[in-house]
Symmetry: C2
Subunit: 478 residues, 2 copies
């Protein structure tokens, strides 16, 4: 991938220009490349490998709670998309339309799925008749298309990879519980696998998914204080079921509408990992999803025994970790910078003197700490260090969120706090759309969520002053 | 999935109407469902699970020979598609065109990838400069779109799932060797994983991939004697490299064009598995890719101890195999028919008398054989039976091919043989396109391949009578 020493040139500092730092990192770490297809990017091997790690773990977790994988067509006939009013209003402005197949104009144009609720509804309407056909818990891994104006790798591209789960349940209680369970599944994955602390809660009416009764969300904070919606879980109640006439006969032989959920997570998450954990030397990858967990760099590798020992360590460690041994003719300095850029959690240096002493040097990516480690219990040492790196970067991200979370009791105060230093701002809200619109207009901030675990920091809406018992976390978001 | 007892209704016999048998099986086994999107089908959990099995195994084999996964955009700008003349001529008539994004008409229309050579070429042209950047071995798992007129699940749909590998090499020799290695990788996978015997060879000029210098293919024969192209591996030489100006500087600092390959395999393969192995009771799945390898059916499950023992067996066998225990209130007879339809290799029946005797009954899907098996060494017994089923269905398919392979020394003879009973026909061919066209026109047969291991069944072309040393296998194909 590397050409000359370009990859290890300095990148922009985060504090100088966070957006430029981000662009530098995704390119120099070899995650993505631009193509001549406007608004789309290429996921290169290193970037795609991170997505594969995410997929493999999440897929196992989905299946463990009874979800089954399927694949539905990428096309949606225009008439089908229009069946649910709120849904079409939410998505029609940003879909791509196929109008011709070969030389022939289509009788009805097809959009490329921006999301697949309507296709699953159509299937459910045909496939579900009795309570014995329920529940259905489907998931698909695919790409979707939304015709966005601006492009930012992982965060905003016209085509992006994601998974979308779609389930059908007999009762409202079951759908409620499933929506919540999937959100907690995402939250646990984000925190315990990606070291990404998240807030859990509900979206307001204004911010919920087009057509949903309720949208649950996990929100994380990036290094620069801006919010990233990390995953969402939607409860549709029976709205889609009514629009698509999806019914079943219950045990008393009465006709009932089904209750539905959908839930999704996309490659945006990779953008979140980059922006939450990265530093001025490049990526800092959470150990559990790092495609390379340990990179071995031989020092003075022309000296007798060095390469032999490096291969031996590769062999030993590979049984437990994802390991790369770099025996290329690049200088050690080049290699240090390269694998720092790529966010490899542990660098292992081994040279003639180390071998003499039966040791090696481990350098931890998150804080640069150098540890002299005995070769005798290296597997245990590496295991322990990967664990502590996970804990440390989680804690660093959590502290950043804590330091950047404030309260506000007026729109002016909220705007001022966000202008000084972006972050989350907690404020009480009456529940009225007009107040929420006012915050957007006067402070360019959106409601991120109403946390499940609320606080009572006041009794009145910070916009209109009416009584309020609802805390909202506000912020500026990617 | 099942509603009432519909799933176990009789299906059409293979000998009465093979096409109808096929349609019955894919629906009643729960592999696919039609949707309102014309020409596209839904892959349901059982069908998608088979694709996942194929993906997991092939992906590991690809990576073992140095291929890396990537993801390229699904769109191709019209001007980019037109860069290689033969390629555009091959694909333009059957691509889907996106003309609008939201309400706006696009400046340049985009096709949805029918295959991605041109996108990879564009990337290679930018990313490759020095011999140090080579080789590049990329693969992607995705769907592609070809605007076909007719629809047949797995065999011909407008959107279908596949993988496409794209590699760039410094020398012609390396590209030649890699093209061949990937073909053998596919062949080994087909034979040793899917129990699908294949012929290995080269396509003629007429039948090769649009833009390729050479196309290698594996061809298998279905139960009805028709051919299925199972996977292909293409050698592009430097033709695309010249059209896209993809060069590198070699070790002597001279500018050279790269040499490229591509290779692919799709969900058509699932159609092949169905048609090669299936019988009048439904699917017969190769044990290595069967989503359920052993189904446990408790007999007289209300009797004391039966369910306990069934759960115990599930627990024991699940550590080694993919197992399903069906404790639903369906009758055993319904369950037998259901899992036969689904092609589950082994049915395990366990009832009160079996338990008394410390045994169970294994019923083999391929030949209906019933085996009384001791519970003492059940894991070994099942392991052995899965192995022998694999061997047996491979051998049955190979015998079918052998019995249906003939020779011909004139077009009339070839036509007559194919009209009597479809199959492969070997005949010597001079290499001229006109003779190949004549076979197509007069016998509606195509050249399937020129086998790597040739035979000399004559010295002259069976069409024109000119000298020939090339054996071609002809047939009618899906």
């Amino acid at each position: 991938m590397a050409k000359g020493d370009k990859n290890v040139e300095m990148i922009t500092s985060r504090d100088v220009d966070f957006a430029q730092w981000y662009t530098d990192v995704v390119k120099k770490a070899g995650l993505v490349e631009y193509s001549s297809v406007k608004g789309c990017v290429i996921l290169l091997p290193y970037g795609y490998a991170i997505w594969e790690m995410i997929k493999t773990e999440l897929d196992a977790r989905f299946k463990a709670v009874g979800n089954e994988n399927v694949y539905f067509p990428m096309f949606i006939p225009e008439s089908l998309l229009q069946r649910e009013k709120d849904h079409i209003e939410g998505f029609a402005p940003e879909v791509a339309w196929v109008t011709h197949g070969g030389d022939e104009e289509l009788e009805e144009r097809l959009c490329i799925r921006p999301t697949s609720e309507v296709l699953f509804c159509e299937y459910f309407a045909n496939a579900i008749q009795s309570h014995r056909d329920l529940p259905k818990k489907f998931n698909q891994w695919c790409s979707v298309v939304r015709w966005e104006k601006s492009t930012r790798p992982f965060l905003r591209t016209r085509e992006f990879m994601w998974q979308e789960g779609h389930t059908a349940h007999a009762t409202a209680e079951e759908a409620d519980a499933f929506t919540l369970m999937m959100l907690h599944l995402y939250a646990d994955f984000a925190e315990n696998y990606l070291a990404l602390p998240v807030l859990r809660g509900r979206k307001t009416e204004k911010e919920k998914f087009a057509g949903a009764k309720e949208t649950l969300t996990i929100e994380s904070m990036m290094h620069d204080g801006k919010a990233l919606q990390t995953a969402t879980s939607h409860n549709f109640g029976s709205d889609f079921a009514k629009a698509f006439d999806i019914t079943y006969t219950d045990k008393e032989n009465k006709l009932q509408h089904i209750h539905q959920t959908s839930w999704g997570l996309s490659t945006r998450l990779i953008g979140g990992i980059i922006m939450a954990h990265g530093d001025d030397n490049g990526l800092v990858l959470p150990p559990k999803i790092a495609p390379i967990q340990v990179v071995i760099i031989p020092i003075a590798s022309h000296k007798e025994g060095v390469l032999d020992k490096a291969y031996e360590l590769e062999n030993t460690l590979s049984r437990h970790f994802r390991v790369k041994l770099d025996v290329s003719d690049r200088t050690p300095g080049w290699k240090y910078a390269e694998y720092e850029m790529k966010g490899v959690p542990i660098r292992l240096e081994i040279g003639p003197k180390d071998i003499e002493k039966g040791q090696c040097v481990l350098v931890l990516r998150d804080n640069g700490e150098k540890i002299v480690a005995s070769l005798d219990n290296l597997v245990e040492e590496v295991q322990m260090r990967l664990y502590t790196i996970h804990k440390a970067i989680y804690e660093k991200a959590r502290k950043n969120r804590e330091n950047r979370t404030n309260t506000a009791f007026s729109i002016d105060e909220l705007r001022e706090k966000l202008d000084t230093a972006a972050g989350f701002v907690k404020a009480m809200w009456c529940g009225e759309r007009t107040c929420e619109d006012a915050v957007k207009e006067q402070a360019t901030a959106t409601s991120r969520l109403m946390p499940f675990v609320s606080e009572n920091i006041g009794d009145t809406c910070f916009v209109c002053g009416k009584p309020s018992d609802t805390l909202v976390v506000w912020g500026r978001a990617y």
